[in-house]
Assembly symmetry: C2
Homo-oligomer: 323 residues x 2
Amino acid sequence: MNLDMIEAAAERLAGHARVTPMLSSPFLDEIAGRRVLIKPECLQHTGSFKFRGAWSAVSGLTEQQRAKGVIAFSSGNHAQGVALAAKAHGCAAVIIMPADAPRSKIENTRALGAEVVLYDRAAGQQREPIGAKMSAERGLTLIKPYDEPLVIAGQGSTGLEIARQAKDEGVDTADVLVCCGGGGLTSGIALALEGHAPGLRARPVEPEGFDDVARSLAAGSIQANSGPQQGLCDAIITPQPGNLTFPIIHRLCGPGLVVTDAQVTSAMKEAFRRLKLVIEPGGAVALAAALYHPGSLQGDAVIAVASGGNVDADLYAQVLADD
Amino acid sequence: MNLDMIEAAAERLAGHARVTPMLSSPFLDEIAGRRVLIKPECLQHTGSFKFRGAWSAVSGLTEQQRAKGVIAFSSGNHAQGVALAAKAHGCAAVIIMPADAPRSKIENTRALGAEVVLYDRAAGQQREPIGAKMSAERGLTLIKPYDEPLVIAGQGSTGLEIARQAKDEGVDTADVLVCCGGGGLTSGIALALEGHAPGLRARPVEPEGFDDVARSLAAGSIQANSGPQQGLCDAIITPQPGNLTFPIIHRLCGPGLVVTDAQVTSAMKEAFRRLKLVIEPGGAVALAAALYHPGSLQGDAVIAVASGGNVDADLYAQVLADD
């Protein structure tokens, strides 16, 4: 896994993924006590950065592999990214999703042409045997959500844009806060910044109770989450960092940051008020850290990736209504 | 009022106004039955295109004028645009606002450093005498919201970006739907397109009951709204088109389009679901026309300007909750 792979992925993505802008608001600067720049990947195709990795992976397969189709496991954002990337390549996609994933994510994945297979995680049903059986029968290629070089390379294209845009904004040194689940986006951005913006340092951000990456960084080895596997920030809840992603994160990233659910919903409201952006809970953890953990950050500026915006309307309305 | 003035304004705006991206969603294309491109000016500084005209106007004053300060009348978006543009120029700003304007717009205008003077329009209080008295006493320069060449020129910079971005997207012919109040944005965009993208045609869009521009276009002369001066789409409700803006709109624009409040809230929900954008009611009329008036449009593509996103959280939550 190296910078060349990210640059190659960025070339495959050119004209297909959206170059998202860099946003800001004086009101957010005031809360944070420093300049805040937001990289809104919620504006990416399918509403999250996952489209980048999915496009990178599908476009990196052989014709023969694409002819048989792809399969993915996902609670939603990777699912939609793979569905749209596969559709655009004329490639069949099977997505294994938990039956209790946000309704909009399941509906969108279907509407993007994928065959969705639901499993009941509450009843202890495992997704891997379901996927293994379908893959074996149909010769589908598995596209992992993060522990896959082509996917990490695609997510890393976000980091190339951040490096360029930060320079345009006159920001040479800053913490770059990344919403972190399995670590694909964080490791990809970290590699891109190492090559193109050495003054910018990636840092993973996680929700309280699901801070496996922060604890792994502190321990120097992979630590898993115990307890429940579900929470408000569903998009970025994973059992533990990836075997490919963690060594990169460990080598390049600063310490992990952990935010509360209350900070997450507050950041979602600020994004609504000040940026006119819809951010889902898992996509708001980095902004929450930028706004509410100023003492843990270094530099005159902070860059926060808003990684996705796929939140159901009823949950969003409830977040806005709470005071 | 001509193209040179728009290009000069665009130069003054460079590096200060945001170049907003061009967004899209396959789900919106499907509803509209054609390709839909959205120009999200809700992502502009202060959450609406009004910042462009305000910056153009303040930067176009003499040093002496700026030293005395500026004054504006506005229900909210022009107010915030003028407040921020004035602050960035080190210039005092007085804004006369109706006391029943959306709370967030009043608060933001104050927070951006302007002196806000409220008047009670329900009680029949008139804003003009209040403004005239303050202007006379302090030598403030009035920045009109639309019937002012420097303001039209600033709004027209949106049209320069649309011309360039449409070309990048391979769109040569399309209706460009513009949320229309007094006509500053519509006339500015129309002039920019005339010069840079003759295959693109600007068309004003208004809410039902406040369709003065559509009726004026049909009649060939300025017509006024009768009845109430308030409605869901507060940002774009004006008594009648401007004396400067209407002749430009009449010469260059296609027929006006009129949408219902139900179509407006539906478009707001689609922007939430499919674009992750917060759009205020007045900023959603163009998207509503793009989605729900396909028979009135020409071409394989349509471009809709989402002109602003300054909506109060309680109203927005209510819109999302309604099925």
